[in-house]
């Protein structure tokens, strides 16, 4: 073995930090890149198919009804208020507030999933009708998986925060990163919303 020369001592370094110092932050960013690539390519497929057509929807089909989708959009954008409050509370280590607000987030998630069910019903086409129908069903399904997995994540984290582990620094970092990810979920919804509900109306 090579002889060693001791330099700095790292025993007093923290074991958790918010933001890019945290290893899981990089994990979340990586997932965002991967899912982002997936969505971008689905968008590209949408425009590719649309580019072949004179009209969109290609045949005389009704565009999806606006009510459920727009209601969903409003609720998910408003949920950012709760989301930001959670982020603020966890940075201030106000754990009782975090617990309360995360419960609200879980409930909002359930509401969103219910509205999403109605959205599927209001697409006015079946996925087997043609490629236009297939791609808008695919986009809605992809985003639904997004909502579902993040909602489940939030649920599990909420359960964990109820315990003493809510006071653990690393769990607080988890909460903060979960808030970051939720922002991504509704950000990605905006182009999907436009592509399903508005572009067929142009």
């Amino acid at each position: 073995m090579i002889p060693v020369r001791f330099t700095d001592d790292v025993a007093d370094l923290p074991t958790h930090k918010f933001g890019p110092s945290s290893l899981t932050w990089w994990g979340i960013i990586s997932f965002m890149i991967v899912e982002g690539a997936f969505f971008m390519l689905a968008f590209a497929a949408y425009f590719f198919l649309m580019g072949h057509e004179q009209g969109w929807p290609p045949e005389a089909r009704k565009a999806p009804d606006l009510l459920a989708g727009t209601l969903f959009t409003i609720v998910i954008l408003l949920s950012e208020i709760v989301n930001t409050s959670i982020k603020k509370a966890v940075h201030e280590r106000d754990i009782p507030a975090v617990r309360r607000l995360m419960g609200v987030m879980v409930a909002i998630g359930v509401i969103l999933l219910i509205i999403r069910g109605f959205e599927f019903n209001s697409l006015n086409v079946r996925w087997t009708d043609d490629a236009y129908s297939s791609i808008i069903w695919a986009l809605l399904l992809l985003h639904t998986t997004h909502i579902l997995t993040d909602w489940f994540d939030t649920l599990v984290l909420w359960a964990l925060i109820q315990t003493r582990l809510g006071y653990e620094g690393r769990r607080q970092v988890d909460v903060d990163e979960n808030c970051l990810y939720w922002r991504y979920v509704w950000l990605l919804w905006i182009p999907v919303y436009l592509m399903i509900y508005w572009i067929p109306r142009l």
């Binding site: 020369r5 025993a11 994990g27 890149i33 497929a45 579902l148 582990l165």
Partner: protein, 671 residues
């Protein structure tokens, strides 16, 4: 509820919150006291005593449970490599069968359907089950050692990725063994692979194998990228990072951006086949070319994902065996990054014959030629290093020379087919088969064989047999030329690809016969290499820490390394720490020895940033892979498996992250 009741409830909850706050403060004081008593490495705990203590902490349980639950990157990396080499052998046998069939014209040894299965399995296995996994496997094994750290990031995700890869491979080969293997080519063009022209489950099995291997590759890429960015030794700035680490960083990001394309494409294909969507159906406003665009948007970066790690192998071996650092390190880094970026702009060159607008094609010709520039610069840098140094030609360096002689031919034939008018004759002929085997075998397999010989002592603690290594080198190098050079001519003489036979009288007899003979020489050579690898495990010379006089940190620890990699985490002050240390290795102190802990540093400057607990071995990655695997496989038969299967998968993933006990520890521990 009356005001009074409301006020009373509010008072109760405020009191409860107060009580909890006081509890936590008491707890905090207790934990702080316990923290002071934790044993840490340093001048007071070093040498053999430290190593014994670290071994107790870092060793995984023995037996089959321990094997399934391990999170040691060295074990996982070895698994990846051995599994990938097994798939290489299987796909190689298929190649020998194909070459036997093609040795003579109008041969009827293998029928049309079976032959179509063979080339589908050969291509799919080589591309999805060998080439990318072996690169990730070598990366997963060596990167933490090269970077001077104790573990990869996300070790359980690493373990999970291996099992997903294995299950995908078993799915494909299990289906082949049961005679329901795919026969649509490794690229599965629609509409041939669609519901109308490929009835049955063969194409679905192919598409779902993609899903498995793509999940595995993306997971491994996330592990590697996070490790490279956050877990480098203190002082190892990005500008001091080994070139192989740079290649894995670029490749990891490429995987994250490219793999989703094939995942999306194959999911849409399964959807067309299973539930009647029309993504690829031209008669219902879909487009068969949508498949090609999505597939090649993945497919072209894929070949650079395979090639770039091999350039990292080249840099490693050229540096070590020329006895000097690589010439123009910044140029090599820029070349890697620009190749990675450019690779995403070339995909239409696979579609020159599909009738897209000609003016658009010119862009892809220009881009496809441009990508030769960074690669050409890298080659100059390696040759310059050899010229300026004093190269020693042990076996790994022989493979370096084989790369130069072979890959450059493939690269130049690539420049030829970048031209649209030339490609329109050569596309889909044996000229292309020659081209990509020259770049893939010359450009990736030769460096791989060299680097496996090079890192074999680090992986196993023994040296491979040098004499046997030289014999198998010459056999594989010369056999390869015999097998693949004539294929340029087969293509020019009119032989298309993916044909189970060809007529006599076209002049194809001689080139095909030569190719078939050469293929068997290559097969024998690979067999010899494997024999060398296996025999050296038992009777190879015992390897010292640093048998080659290397420049990077993996050579600072034993061969093979202990589970914790380094007794003390090293500090780095140059690009070639082992050559510049002047006899003593600077190290940091203060990491705990009673639980698994490693150091995270900042992304660019690599200053010590956080202490990070490393997870204990866990069976949940394996169980989650089983649950997800079952969902993937059953979803070939019914879409309901996706909804039903969500439940066991959610349980497995939750259990993975849920702590074993709800307890506050003085320092975090991941159980």
């Amino acid at each position: 509820m009356t005001d009074a009741v409301r006020r009373s409830n509010a008072l109760k909850s405020r009191r409860a919150a107060e009580a909890e706050r006081r509890d936590i403060e008491e707890d905090d004081k207790r934990l702080a006291a316990e923290r002071k008593k934790i044993a840490r490495d340093g001048p007071k705990l070093t040498g053999a005593k430290l190593e014994a203590r670290l071994l107790r902490t870092w060793q995984r349980p023995p037996g089959i449970i321990g094997w399934l639950a391990t999170v040691d990157h060295k074990e996982i990396g070895r698994r990846y490599i051995i599994t990938a080499l097994s798939f290489l052998a299987l796909a190689g046998v298929l190649a020998l069968l194909m070459r036997t069939q093609l040795a003579r014209p109008d041969n009827n040894m293998i029928g049309a359907s079976r032959y179509n299965e063979l080339f589908t399995m050969h291509g799919s296995t080589m591309m999805f089950l060998f080439a990318v996994p072996v690169m990730e496997g070598v990366g997963v094994f060596i990167i933490p050692l090269m970077l001077g750290t104790r573990s990869t990031a996300f070790p359980r995700l690493n373990a999970f990725s291996y099992f997903m890869y294995l299950f995908g491979g078993l799915l494909l080969w299990g289906a082949f063994a049961l005679n329901i293997g795919p026969d649509i080519g490794w690229f599965a063009y629609t509409p041939l692979s669609g519901p109308q022209f490929s009835p049955g489950k063969r194409a679905d099995i192919w598409a779902q194998m993609i899903t498995f291997t793509e999940v595995a590759a993306i997971s491994a890429a996330i592990v590697i990228v996070a490790t490279i960015l956050k877990a480098r030794a203190p002082g190892m700035t990005l500008a001091r990072m080994p070139l192989f680490a740079w290649t894995m960083l670029v490749v990891g990001i490429m995987v994250m951006l490219a793999m989703p394309a094939v995942a999306l494409a194959s999911s849409m294909l399964i959807s067309d086949r299973l539930v009647g969507t029309h993504f690829y159906n031209a008669y219902e406003h879909g487009d068969a070319l949508l498949w090609q665009h999505l597939f090649w948007f993945f497919g072209h970066p894929e070949v650079y994902i395979i090639f770039l790690p091999a350039t990292g192998f080249m840099s490693t071996m050229v540096e070590t065996f020329s006895r000097r650092p690589i010439f123009a390190y910044p140029i090599v880094v820029l070349a890697l990054i620009s190749t990675g970026i450019l690779a995403f702009g070339l995909w239409v060159h696979h579609m020159f014959a599909t009738g897209l607008p000609r003016v658009g094609y010119s862009f892809y010709t220009a881009a496809s030629m441009t990508v030769a520039i960074p690669t050409g610069l890298q080659i100059f840098c390696w040759l310059a290093t050899m010229w300026d140094g004093r190269p020693r030609f042990q076996v790994p360096m022989l493979y370096v020379v084989a790369f130069i002689v072979t890959f450059v031919i493939g690269g130049l034939s690539g420049v030829i087919i970048a031209s649209v008018p030339l490609d329109l004759q050569l596309h889909d002929t044996y000229f292309i088969v020659a081209h990509f085997h020259y770049v893939l075998i010359g450009g990736a397999v030769f460096p791989l064989l060299g680097v496996l010989t090079f890192w074999y002592p680090k992986m196993t603690g023994r040296m491979m047999d040098e004499a046997l290594g030289k014999i198998s080198f010459w056999m594989v190098f010369l056999g390869f030329q015999l097998a693949f050079f004539p294929m340029h001519f087969s293509g020019l003489l009119g032989m298309p690809r993916r044909v189970y036979t060809y007529p006599a009288g076209l002049g194809l007899e001689l080139p095909n016969l030569l190719s078939s003979i050469g293929a068997f020489v290559v097969g024998a050579a690979v067999l010899l290499f494997v024999i060398n690898g296996i025999k050296s495990l038992y009777i190879g010379a015992l390897a010292p820490d640093d048998p080659w006089g290397g420049s990077t940190l993996e050579w600072a620890t034993s061969s093979p390394p202990p589970p914790y990699n380094f007794a003390h985490v090293p500090v780095v002050e140059s690009k070639t720490p082992m050559w510049d240390q002047q006899g003593e290795m600077p190290v940091i102190t203060g990491l705990r020895v009673d639980e698994k802990e490693t150091l995270l540093t900042t992304v660019v400057a690599a200053a010590p940033d956080l202490r990070e607990p490393v997870p204990e071995p866990s069976l949940w990655p394996f169980i989650a892979a089983i649950a997800i695997g079952v969902v993937f496989i059953t979803s070939i038969f019914s879409p309901w498996s996706l909804t039903i299967g969500l439940v066991p998968c959610a349980i497995a993933l939750t259990a993975w992250f849920w702590p074993k006990e709800i307890k506050r520890n003085p320092e975090p521990v991941i159980t």
